[in-house]
Amino acid sequence: MKLFNFLVSFLCIIPNAFCAAADSNKFERYRSLSRSAPIELTDSSYEDITSKPRDYHVAVLLTAADARYGCILCREFQPEWELIARSWNKGSKPDGLQMLFATLDFSDGKGTFQKLMLQTAPVLLVFPPTVGPFAKVDDTPLRFDFSGPISADQLYTWINRHLPEGPKPPLVRPINYMRLISAVTILMGAVTLFTVLSPYVLPIIRNRNLWAAFSLIAILLFTSGHMFNHIRKVPYVAGDGRGGISYFAGGFSNQFGMETQIVAAIYAVLSFATIALAMKVPRIADNKAQQVAVIIWGSVLLGMYSFLLNVFKTKNGGYPFFLPPF
């Protein structure tokens, strides 16, 4: 009986001791592969790095950064991910907390994607250690699903929340010296240019027509719903399901990019007709020409306004008003 107990405990100790030794080797091995950037994995190394027992945390980003997969989110997130890995690897870590950052791209790890039954990318898996001081009983990896564009800070707080308590290296965004220098250069260039060219530029800056044009364009842009396009990121046009193009989105609070441009153009034509009627026509000296101008601009006004009401009616079904031609 005693012998049996001894055997059992011996059998237990040996693999543990052995594995622990192997583990630290494994950690060092992978650590040396890449000093700061995330480790590039393949199917086999993914198996190896996540195999039990492990005495380190490992965060694997399963992604598809290659252009042919068309995963914009993956490509956008790639630099952020590298930033996290670099910040961690360069920062000072609490004692004994070992963590690896790795990336498995779809082109290198199709098998893993199939095995995990992943339909989407990117996905982040964080494997807790199975041995060592921070080992967790439940060794299933934590999974982070990307529901939209996310910054490194947000993901980093998520990772930190699932690591053991203690100080963590802060996320350090490298200062973009290139950008700083170029900004200063451009600013100085602009100042110099302005000083040199001021005799020629000032009349242009002081030109009333130019400012009028700017203001009107801005107003037309904003009142035709450009900010909605910008915030909601609406499509430019959409198909109507029969191979054609539908220029106007259905519904009162929907719109397409092109639709707003059409509407802005309508507003512009109407405003211009108003300006012409109010300011240009009374300055035409010739009687006949003036009469013709009034008729032309008046009918443009009527036609466009009628068209605008017609468009609005398609957007808002119950709208009861219309003007003749349309």
Partner: protein, 742 residues
Amino acid sequence: MAESPLDVLLKGNSGRTTRGLLRFIILATIAAAAVSSRLFSVIRFESIIHEFDPWFNFRATKYLVQHGFESFWDWFDDRTWHPLGRVTGGTLYPGLMVTSGVIYHVLRFLTIPVDIRNICVLLAPGFSGLTALAMYFLTCEMTTSPSAGLLAAAFMGIVPGYISRSVAGSYDNEAIAIFLLVFTFFLWIKAVKNGSIMWGALAALFYGYMVSAWGGYVFITNLIPLHVFVLLCMGRYSSRIYISYTTWYALGTLASMQIPFVGFLPIRNSDHMSALGVFGLIQLVAFADFVRGFIPGKHFQRLLTTMIIVVFGVAFVGLVVLTVSGVIAPWSGRFYSLWDTGYAKIHIPIIASVSEHQPTAWPAFFFDLNFLIWLFPAGVYMCFRDLKDEHVFVIIYSVLASYFAGVMVRLMLTLTPIVCVAAALALSTILDTYVFATNGPNPRAKANEDTSSEGLRSARKPDVGITSYFSKTVMTSSVVVYLLLFVAHCTWVTSNAYSSPSVVLASRMPDGSQHIIDDYREAYYWLRQNTAHNAKIMSWWDYGYQIGGMADRPTLVDNNTWNNTHIATVGKAMSSREEVSYPILRQHDVDYVLVVFGGLLGYSGDDINKFLWMVRIAEGIWPDEVKERDFFTARGEYRVDDGATPTMRNSLMYKMSYHNFNSMFQPGQAVDRVRGSRLPAEGPQLSTLEEAFTSENWIIRIYKVKDLDNLGRDHNTAVAFDKGNKRKRATKRKGPRVLRTE
């Protein structure tokens, strides 16, 4: 030329009085039209307070009238935000309540007995008449044409963009704030034109009133300095600007600091820093202007350049240091989200969740402004013709407000006044040109000719007027048609879109008669009649003010979203399993839970549709316990039928919404009319709550939170026992079901 009787009436001295009288009558008619077009809801429904926020304002007004001004100022309200309470007196804009309180006491003094509710209901229409008047004054400052002011007043009176926030019953801050906004701008223009301390001080006085009435005062705080700054950049410094701006800034800032809610913000918050900066700048410019009189030109140039560089450097460094050290608060979230449009969605979901903070699609602009929207750019263009100081103001206001209105639907309200001004300028130019009966240029329209080379391209040739009567007839009649169409449009929009109290819903019966759905008041009245005076009601924050106002019961959260964590707590209770929610409910002394459910009637503004916001806000505080992803199926759909995720089906909100819903239908036929989906054959089981009340159309459902079980069992077991299921062995019980909290 023979003098007709009309000429006698309209020319010379008697003509002036006649015109004055006519103008007065027209303005009175416009004000009457403005008031009466806002009364649809009172006539159709009854004299009732609308929507959500007005219910709080109404409650606060009643408190003010009952307890007097002193105790209103120190009001601590323990019947909201249980158990925290709210320092109501110090966290509201008191202008609206004080205004109606004053009106109430004046009417009382005149021995006119009138209910405070009727004053509150009719305050907004009454002030819209004043707004039309203020609009007349403002527009008259912009042009010499006498018709522009009247047109602008008429536009302002009936334009839907303003009616949307000022129908009878919508007793909100905007009701008086738009009048104050327009009138402050009028006084400011007057001050700039005359360089008078009196007008500047009056502008400051009304600015102070505006600060006490609406958080949107920040718009004025930034627009006036911007106006001054642009004028300085254009090289238009004059003592008029110096006098009016310094007067306005000094007095206005002092006035605004008298409001407890604003307090020291004007000198510590970045929102207000531009006003302070421009105040400093104008002192320097004035000093430079003063020095120029004593120093020869070349030295002065050098001095000026050095001074500009030094001052900008010092100011910039100072601002950075003060911001970093925390003396100056950074931009407030709401204001910041106007510039960085993605900011709110990531950092402040509670702001992003409000529907009036969404961006504006183009149909909304046309819906609210009709043909003014295309007269607007034309009017702005005409401002460039003279480009006096006040025209610069119109241009800046136009560009800035169009941007804001594009970013947020509710800021359409600040855009509307300037659209009316600009459109009236454009239309009055047309009318002055074409309606004038004799040939040749209209002498009045010609008054402001600018033939300098700097002027607009389109105004360089001399004005000869319209020569043919045919042209005049065509244009006049088409403008009349457009105006009639505008009136028809405004009436239609007001009647159809903006006159619903939203507390009472109207629908049509098959025979065309009107059917009133009055579930909200039914349920609130039930609460008032059947629950203890101190019973705590938990609901999503949208309904907090209504419960406080109509049911007079304490609530956990309400529309004054000052404590995000508390709201997230409610969101967590709603979106978690019963086992998690019950302790939260017990800890917050909740007696009843109220949910809004539209599935039976097809009422789409219900809680299941708002549910994702509750989840998001809760996730912001407890990202580990509540996850938005869990409420979507694997294919990313938000479903309530058989395909709903387990998290969704176990959430308290889902269970409360669909509790017993099956019993209304044939077995397996239950259909949610909002989501248009068939529900699972077996409905959800509630064990910690019991149904207390469901309104006629099931829009409001109220649940009572069960007390702890008498026998010490958990609620699941107790319910199972009541149903006659065999009690499971205690030893076999598994899982972390810990219900008892004490």
